[in-house]
């Protein structure tokens, strides 16, 4: 009905104006009942230069000097309309937003997760619809239905899930929220669990080197999370979630328009788990007791008339985790050998401001500016080990977009500034045979440091508008620890025949390793930390990739085949060596280290409501350790992924059923060496690889109406469990105690239910 109203002119009253003047008001046609005026809209006579702009109340008066009959009303972001003027009546005209129209058109063909067809980079878009398929709980679970990212546990204590891409762990992935690097430094290990799932609007996953614009740190890929925006998110959203492990989650969003140009949103997240579970009866909690309060306030400013868009964000977070032996009481047993226990408490504050200016006359000229500050502090202990870190970080960039000659040649150029200040204190209590296997020694490590860098960015994009698109980027940075260096990156997309896409990419990445922050699972052991006598160098790697995508029709439905191969070659790496079961060593790579990853995927969109994804992955990740060239421990060699989702048709009252299920088969993994050095009798069990295993997740959602939906789901339906995830759990204060040999789920099946309530 609204659609038909678009071009109807309401003739309301005869205005008391001179005979040659026409007056009117221009309004936005919105779904709400309220009327929004459009200040700054262009109103002009067709084929003339005579025109006016509407005032702050959306009103205009235009004189008719000739006998013009066609009046054009236009506004950036809206469909232009031509009105036939026959008399001097007051005009009330509604403009229809262009985006509304596009959204309707795209919806029929959009997939919840799709490999982009047109960009030169290999980007996978994950929409909010796809994110709902794994309803729990934060960003680390958002990847469960995506085969390009692997989710693993790091240890049997903290319940932390770590993501991997192309066989490399998350430190080698640049993770940004709205293009500001967020999960890095101190937040590397737990950061994914600090972004609640409902806050995420969509995800963009780039495989391979990626763009130079967001930094030099990405090596295996980039993940960007777009958060909910006050302007487009619902006025009120409420979600609650409860699972059989006793975890409760609450999410609320409030969004309001303060004026035409300014909107604000308050987003609140709370989760709590205070039930103890020890299903494998090793005396240790299967999952930590935890509590998180997370609060975000966003301000969005949109001035289309001047081409300005801005955001201001404030975020505060508090997170507490307690784990270890079931009988551990932090008040009584903290840092004693009565019971083994651990507490991790984190406090984080983030603020950022960003502005984009689009030249309203020349829309291909834009300037973007971002400034972000974060303050992260973590205090923790694991048994007798203690780890405290505080990290203040500033990130800023200014990027200018324009063209060279014409819009087939686009350029981006800008400046990027980064500053990190770390205060890090480690108390390493390790058991050593030199004293006695039952007695420990203590070492204090202080690792305070500052890192600063400034760089210039240049990126060129060429699109021949037919079958070739390439992006070549380069940045030069000056870093107080890494010196001056150049980061080149190149991406190319070529379509030899219709529906086929070939992509090539190569690029370099460099980063400073944060050895403790990235490997916090080492503290939940009794290993001795061995640091090299010389300094640890920066990490430096090249990534090369090739991918092929073929679209075709199979039994009259759309299907896609995707093959990709990526190879990451480390020029230098900070090697994390777990091969001595009583030690963990960090040293500079001598020799070779590489990760090769092959993925084949079949996507089949059987109908509008049914689709399936099937993927097979093969990894070869090897590093030259001091003890020889070995496969990276706890990294599966093979993985099979299958996802099937089916929705019922949407009824008139908007009710619908949605179902989806994910099957994963994880191949065998290599344990790091568990044989004590002086053991003469070789125990075969120590040398065997991990068994392969299967997990199945499923979720059913009932949408009752636009406003209310309910979901139930199950994780790990096959009840797969690793029997003894904690090595020497019977005596945690002895040489050899280790919680890092985790290859699979620690707890069995878990069921959950939740609801979403929305007000439009």
């Amino acid at each position: 009905m609204k659609y038909f109203l678009t071009n109807i002119i309401f003739l309301i009253s005869l205005a008391l104006i001179s005979q040659t003047n026409i007056s009117g008001i221009v309004l936005e046609q919105s779904s709400a009942d309220s009327e929004i005026v459009l200040p700054g809209a262009n109103v002009y006579w067709m084929n003339t230069t005579e025109g006016v702009i509407t005032n702050l109340d959306g009103e205009f008066t235009i004189s008719n000097s000739g006998n013009y009959t066609n009046l054009i009303i236009s506004y950036v972001g809206f469909k232009s309309d031509t009105i036939n003027i026959e008399n001097q009546n007051f005009i009330k005209h509604y403009l229809k937003p262009e985006s509304t129209l596009d959204a309707v058109n795209i919806k029929a063909i959009s997939k919840t997760s799709s490999v982009s067809y047109l960009t030169s980079q290999n980007i996978i878009n994950v929409s909010s619809e796809e994110l709902l398929k794994a309803a729990c709980c934060n960003l680390s679970e958002s990847f469960e239905t995506n085969p390009s990212i692997d989710v693993n546990f790091t240890d049997a204590i903290t319940g932390v899930k770590q993501i991997q891409m192309l066989g490399l762990t998350s430190p080698y992935i640049l993770i940004t929220t709205e293009n500001i690097p967020t999960i890095r430094g101190a937040s590397q290990t737990y950061g994914l669990s600090f972004i609640p799932g409902t806050w995420v609007e969509s995800l963009q996953i780039t495989k391979g080197a990626g763009s130079v614009v967001n930094g030099y740190e990405s090596i295996s890929g980039q993940i960007n999370a777009e958060l909910q925006k006050p302007n487009s998110d619902l006025p009120l959203f409420f979600n609650t979630y409860l699972n059989t492990m006793g975890k409760l989650e609450l999410n609320t969003h409030f969004n309001t328009k303060i004026s035409n140009k300014l909107s604000t949103g308050l987003y609140f997240h709370f989760n709590n788990n205070d039930e103890s579970h020890d299903t494998n009866q090793d005396g240790f909690l299967d999952l930590p007791l935890s509590k998180q309060i997370n609060f975000l306030n966003r301000w969005q400013y949109t001035n289309l008339e001047k081409g300005l868009v801005g955001f201001f964000n404030l975020r505060y977070l508090e997170d507490e985790k307690q784990s270890g032996e079931v009988d551990f009481d932090p008040e009584l047993h903290r840092l004693t050998t009565n019971y083994w226990g651990s507490e991790v408490s984190t406090e984080r504050f983030d603020t950022s401001i960003k502005f984009a200016y689009v030249n309203p006359d020349i829309t291909y000229q834009t300037v973007g500016f971002q400034l972000a500050y974060s303050d992260h502090s973590q205090n923790s202990y694991f048994g007798l080990n203690q780890y405290d870190i505080s990290h203040q970080s500033i990130f800023s960039n200014i990027i200018y977009n324009s063209i060279l000659g014409d819009t087939r040649h686009k350029i981006k150029t800008g400046i990027n500034f980064n500053s990190d200040r770390y205060k890090e204190n480690v108390v390493n209590s390790f058991y050593t045979a030199i004293i006695s296997p039952n007695d420990y020694a203590t070492e204090f490590i202080n690792n305070d440091r500052s890192e600063n860098s400034i760089g210039v960015i240049f990126e060129y994009n060429f699109d021949n508008l037919n079958n070739l698109n390439l992006t070549a980027g380069i940045r030069a940075d000056e870093h107080n620890k890494m010196g001056t260096f150049i980061t080149p990156r190149f991406h190319l997309r070529y379509t030899p025949v219709e529906k086929s896409v070939i992509r090539l990419s190569f690029g370099r990445g460099k980063r400073m390793a944060n050895i403790f922050a990235e490997n916090q699972n080492l503290f939940a052991t009794t290993r001795e930390i061995i640091l090299p006598t010389d300094d640890l160098k920066y990490e430096d790697a090249w990534n090369y990739g090739v991918s092929f995508l073929q679209k075709f029709n199979l039994f009259n439905s759309k299907a896609e085949l995707v093959f990709d191969y990526y190879y990451t070659n480390f020029m230098n790496q900070v090697v994390v060596d777990w091969e001595n079961p009583f030690e963990i060593s960090f040293y500079n790579l001598e020799g070779k280290s590489y990760a090769s990853s092959f993925q084949s995927q079949f996507n089949y969109y059987i109908s509008e409501n049914i689709d399936l994804k099937l993927a097979y992955k093969l990894y070869d990740v090897k590093t030259d350790y001091n003890s020889g060239s070995l496969r990276k421990p706890m990294t599966p060699k093979e993985r099979v992924f299958f996802n099937f989702s089916v929705n019922s048709n949407v009824n008139e009252n908007k009710s619908q059923w949605k179902f989806d299920t994910t099957f994963n088969w994880i191949g065998e993994q290599r344990y790091s060496n568990r044989i004590p050095e002086n053991t003469t009798s070789i125990i075969p069990v120590y040398q065997a690889p991990t068994p392969d295993f299967t997990t199945v997740n499923a979720q059913l959602t009932r949408v009752f109406s636009e406003k209310f939906e309910f979901y139930i789901g199950a994780e790990n339906l096959t009840n797969t469990k690793q029997k003894n995830p904690i090595f020497m759990s019977e005596d945690p204060f002895i040489q050899g105690f280790d919680t890092t040999f985790v290859y699979g789920p620690i707890f069995g099946s878990m069921y959950y239910a939740g609801l979403r309530f929305k007000i439009y």
Partner: protein, 115 residues
């Protein structure tokens, strides 16, 4: 070295001569996505044309071009040579006939089919 790059970036940000960013907006007849592709992809390749977008529903083309390198009349002529009538220049029958069947905007039936 970084300083020099910074300076050159700042210079490239400085304002651009008005003449070289002339704007034009006029009617070009056409009906479908194929027309859009032809109109946009051909005009952007003209020397001096920097930006070209044709709106399917309003039949209007938006151009940004360098007046020193190309005259607006020549752009009109060029589009007519492709087979599309513009506000100022009508395409010859020969040019019009060379269009794909789905682009025959003078045929009311074709126009109707696209609505």
């Amino acid at each position: 070295m970084i300083k020099y790059i910074l300076i050159s970036v700042l210079i490239s940000l400085s304002p651009i001569d008005q003449n070289s960013n002339a704007k034009a907006n006029f009617r070009v007849d056409g009906v479908c996505g194929m027309c859009k592709e032809r109109i946009e992809n051909s005009t952007i390749k003209l020397k001096g044309v920097k930006f070209s977008k044709w709106n399917n529903s309003t039949n209007k083309i938006s151009l940004i071009y360098n007046e020193k390198k190309i005259k607006l009349n020549d752009i009109h002529k060029f589009i007519a040579e492709l087979g599309h009538d513009t506000e100022k220049v009508i395409a010859t029958d020969k040019a019009y006939n060379s269009l794909d069947p789905c682009c025959k905007y003078r045929d009311p039936n074709v126009v109707k089919n696209h609505q």
